[in-house]
């Protein structure tokens, strides 16, 4: 019997109980080479199998099939729909036995839709795929970053946000996390959720790393810009827990961005604009020019916000003068926009061109507010519980203990004369 047909038969026979599937897995691993060598016949084999019943076997054959280079023609004919169907139908238990294969198939799907210049076709399948692959919602899969990239390219920011709201705690590979946070940050910027974007980018910048990497550098550039938009300032140094290599080197790579921040902190809009214009090329080449422009316009907002702290009423003309806008009409537009966005509380009297600034009407008395506070408390409680368990886990971790034990010994030996260092 032809080895491939035998394999198909085995797949069909051994796909029911879990013991069988484990056996099938070993068989499949052994026959990987023969699958690859005979790639032309694989597409016919696929039609013999049911992706929902024989997911594991289907996955191996599909992987071997897609591994061979596919021309555009073929892709349109079938690969994308086949993978889509498979992702949709496959059984969760079976594909988790071979996560690497599954990831590589999904990555090929991504490459295909990119080749076809239709990234939107990959968005839904990848979302399903990563949800199937995820052991829990706290787990980061390699597919997260791919999915976010497709969302970005397809401009499906909202879909992307749906997975960004999950808290990620378990990471297998740092690179996945960097990319996930970087793309995630960009999606949040697209949706103007600057705080969330800051959090995500912050994770990249402060992540432990032994070598500086391009993702961190790019993330830091965006971090600086978003931080200016959101808070109007940047902290001059990275937090202590970020790795020493980033603390030393990041600034060197982001010089124009720091100068921008300096110019921003002085508060003169003309200077800032001049600086942006002279350095537009640099920002353009980093693909950050749009964000830089948002930084500039945020300065008007910040200056207007500052006025609300000092004035109860102020004429539009005065606002235009202090904020350096061209006349009361433009000032009115800005104020109106800011009122609409809930950034300031004010009312405009068009008759005499006066703006009356009001206090924040939030009284913290409504049921919604109480609920909000309550949910925050719950959330923080669960977080600190998590923290405690994590702490216990680490305290019991063998690797950690052996490492710490070794170091302790060495210190003891070195600092034999100075025991007061160790009154822990």
């Amino acid at each position: 019997m032809d080895p491939l047909e035998a394999l198909v038969a085995q797949i069909q026979g051994l796909s029911s109980s879990s013991a069988d599937i484990n056996r099938l897995h070993t068989i499949l691993k052994q026959s990987e080479d023969s699958l690859r060598s005979d790639s032309t016949r694989l597409s016919s084999l696929l039609s013999l199998l049911d992706p929902s019943l024989h997911s594991l076997g289907f996955l191996y054959i599909l992987d071997a099939f897609t591994a061979t280079s596919i021309s555009n023609q073929q892709a349109e004919e079938g690969v994308v729909p086949i993978i889509n169907n498979f992702i949709h139908a496959c059984s969760v238990e079976q594909i988790r036995l071979a996560p690497d294969k599954f990831v590589s198939v999904c990555k090929r799907l991504k490459e295909q839709v990119m080749l076809l210049e239709a990234p939107i076709r990959g968005v839904a399948p990848l979302l399903t795929a990563l949800q199937k692959l995820q052991v829990s919602r706290e787990h980061l899969t390699p597919l997260h970053a791919e999915f976010l990239l497709l969302c970005l390219l397809a401009k499906c920011y909202k879909t992307g946000l749906s997975i960004l709201d999950d808290d990620i705690f378990e990471v297998d590979h740092p690179r996945d996390l960097y990319l996930y946070c970087y793309y995630g940050g960009m999606i949040c910027i697209g949706q103007k959720r600057f705080q969330k974007a800051l959090d995500l980018l912050h994770n990249v910048v402060t992540a432990p790393m032994s070598l500086i990497n391009a993702i961190a550098v790019e993330a830091y550039k965006k971090y600086v810009l978003v931080s200016l938009i959101r808070h109007g300032q940047i902290s001059s140094s990275l937090p202590k827990y970020s790795s020493p290599i980033t603390q030393r080197n990041l600034k060197l790579f982001c010089q124009p961005y720091f100068e921008l921040a300096n110019s921003y902190s002085i508060g003169k809009i003309a200077d800032l604009e001049a600086y942006v214009n002279t350095n537009a090329e640099k920002f353009e080449s980093d693909n950050n020019l749009g964000l830089v422009k948002q930084v500039v316009s945020s300065m008007y907002k910040r200056n207007i916000q500052r006025l609300t702290q000092t004035y109860l009423t102020l004429s539009l003309q005065d606002i235009a003068n202090t904020v350096q806008l061209n006349g009361p009409k433009e000032a009115e537009m800005h104020v109106l926009q800011m009122i609409q966005d809930g950034e300031i509380y004010a009312s405009i009297n068009q008759k005499d061109g006066m703006v009356r600034f009001l206090e924040d009407p939030e009284q913290y008395k409504t049921c919604e507010m109480i609920e909000h506070i309550d949910s925050s408390i719950q959330r923080i409680m669960s977080l600190s519980k998590k923290l405690t368990t994590m702490d216990e886990q680490i305290a019991c971790d063998q690797l950690y203990l052996s490492k710490v034990g070794r170091e302790r010994q060495r210190y003891d030996f070195d600092d034999y004369d100075v025991p007061q260092k160790f009154n822990i």
Binding site: F169, T206, A207, R306, L312, L383, L387
Partner: protein, 445 residues
């Protein structure tokens, strides 16, 4: 609280001040010290080196006023001639540049004479010191170094003088000697402009075992005040100056005159004290009142400030300014002190009110509404005044922070921050854990 009690009374005065200021002004005595500084009288307050350096300072800073400049230089020249500082003589003669006639040109013969005698004296002192050193007589060595210090001081070699004075320290046997050493070192360092040394020697002198007499204590207070003034610690400076006892009189006029104590103390106090402190420590301070009597315009301006007659207070200050700028110690601080006093006045003016009419306030401060608005804006941005400006009706409204809302806001913010930090911490620890296990895998495959 007495601030609140008095604030009710103040209101009438403030309004009176704002409205019929002119009537008030005519009743009060005219301001005297607005006129040009009388150098002769000023110089007579001081003796020794400070007189010369103050005169030279005036000459350097009086601007275009040539007569004043030459007058100051002439007096400095006369004074130097009495001393032995040839270096300074040359400088001053250079500055005069023959503009005061032949009596005031560089007298080379005099210089050479002084220099020669200085050489001889130095030799003599060295011999004496050496002999006492070989004989190991502590007291003589101390005297020797002290004489050396005096010698250098007289010749304007302040660094050497300071070193010699400090050297006497190892040979001091009584606390009187220590105090003596400290006073000399302080004198030299004041003249050098090394104000950082002063505080340590003041501390040392105050620790002397025997109680110091009032005059020495006052001198030390003055020195400490000066050093605080120079380092811009105006509050401490004010405290030191107002603690000075009036017995000081003219005992310390090689450094400071009583009038100076009054002026420095008063300005620093105005710039840094709050109302209660001003009342209890300055106005009700019988010691300091004696000083203030010497400079009536300063006394008046403090009283005006306290009783909220800001316009006249600021007028006094304005009149004094040109003369204060000629003061060697105050020159670099006049602007800062004035700004701070003005800010304090603005803050105090607004403090008791729920709403303030800016027109009225501008009147009281003798300024325009627009200018006042700018000043207030800066103060509000600085969070020094809790108020907001109604620029339409030109009224300033006090703003009372709602504690409850602020607390809620802060709590939510803290919660968010905690949430964020913990999450990223967990994430990082996961990465580190991963890194650890990766490394251990590679180490033992």
């Amino acid at each position: 609280m007495d601030v609140d009690d008095s604030s009710a009374l103040m209101i009438d005065e403030i309004y009176a001040n704002g409205d019929d200021d002119n009537n008030n002004r005519t009743i009060r005595r005219p301001i005297i010290s607005g006129d040009q500084l009388d150098i002769e009288a000023y110089a007579s307050l001081y003796s020794g080196h400070t007189k010369i350096s103050r005169l030279i300072f005036i000459a350097d800073h009086c601007g275009d006023n040539l007569t004043m400049r030459l007058e100051a230089l002439r007096m400095a020249f006369d004074e130097i001639k009495k001393g032995e500082n040839t270096q300074l003589m040359r400088e001053v003669a250079n500055k005069i540049d023959g503009r005061l006639g032949s009596d005031y040109t560089l007298d080379e013969a005099w210089c050479d004479d002084i220099d020669r005698r200085a050489e001889q004296k130095k030799e003599k002192l060295e011999n004496e010191l050496n002999s006492s050193r070989t004989n190991l007589i502590k007291e003589s060595i101390r005297m020797g170094y002290h004489d050396f210090g005096d010698f250098y001081y007289a010749h304007g070699q302040l660094g050497e003088a300071y070193k010699s004075y400090v050297r006497t320290r190892d040979y001091c046997t009584t606390s009187k000697h220590i105090v003596n050493m400290c006073m000399s070192a302080i004198l030299a360092s004041i003249e050098m402009g090394q104000f950082s040394h002063i505080s340590s020697y003041v501390g040392k002198a105050e620790q002397a075992r025997e109680a110091l007499d009032t005059i020495t204590t006052s001198k030390l207070h003055c020195a400490a005040g000066l050093s605080n003034l120079k380092t811009k610690k105006y509050k401490q400076a004010a405290r030191k100056f107002i603690e000075t006892s009036p017995e000081l009189g003219s005992h310390y006029n090689e450094v400071i005159a009583s009038q100076d104590v009054a002026i420095y103390g008063a300005l620093c106090a105005l710039a840094s004290f709050d109302r209660t402190e001003l009342k209890s420590k300055v106005i009700d301070n019988s010691n300091f009142r004696d000083f203030l009597e010497l400079v009536p315009e300063v006394r008046e301006l403090i009283n005006d400030f306290y009783s909220s007659r800001y316009a006249s207070c600021l007028e006094y200050l304005g009149n004094l300014k040109s003369n204060l700028l000629l003061d060697i110690h105050l020159h670099y601080h006049v602007e800062t002190l004035y700004d701070q006093i003005r800010q304090r006045a603005l803050i105090q003016y607004t403090h008791p009110f729920v709403s303030v009419d800016l027109n009225m306030m501008a009147n009281a401060f003798k300024t325009t509404v627009a200018g006042l608005q700018k000043e207030l804006e800066a103060l509000i941005t600085d969070n020094q005044i809790q108020a907001r400006i109604d620029s339409h009706n030109k009224v300033l409204y006090a703003r009372h922070a709602d504690q409850r809302n602020a607390t809620f806001q802060r709590v939510l913010e803290t919660g968010r921050g905690f949430d964020r930090d913990v999450r990223s911490m967990l994430l990082r620890s996961s990465l580190i854990k991963h890194g650890c296990s990766m490394r251990s895998l590679t180490r033992k495959p």
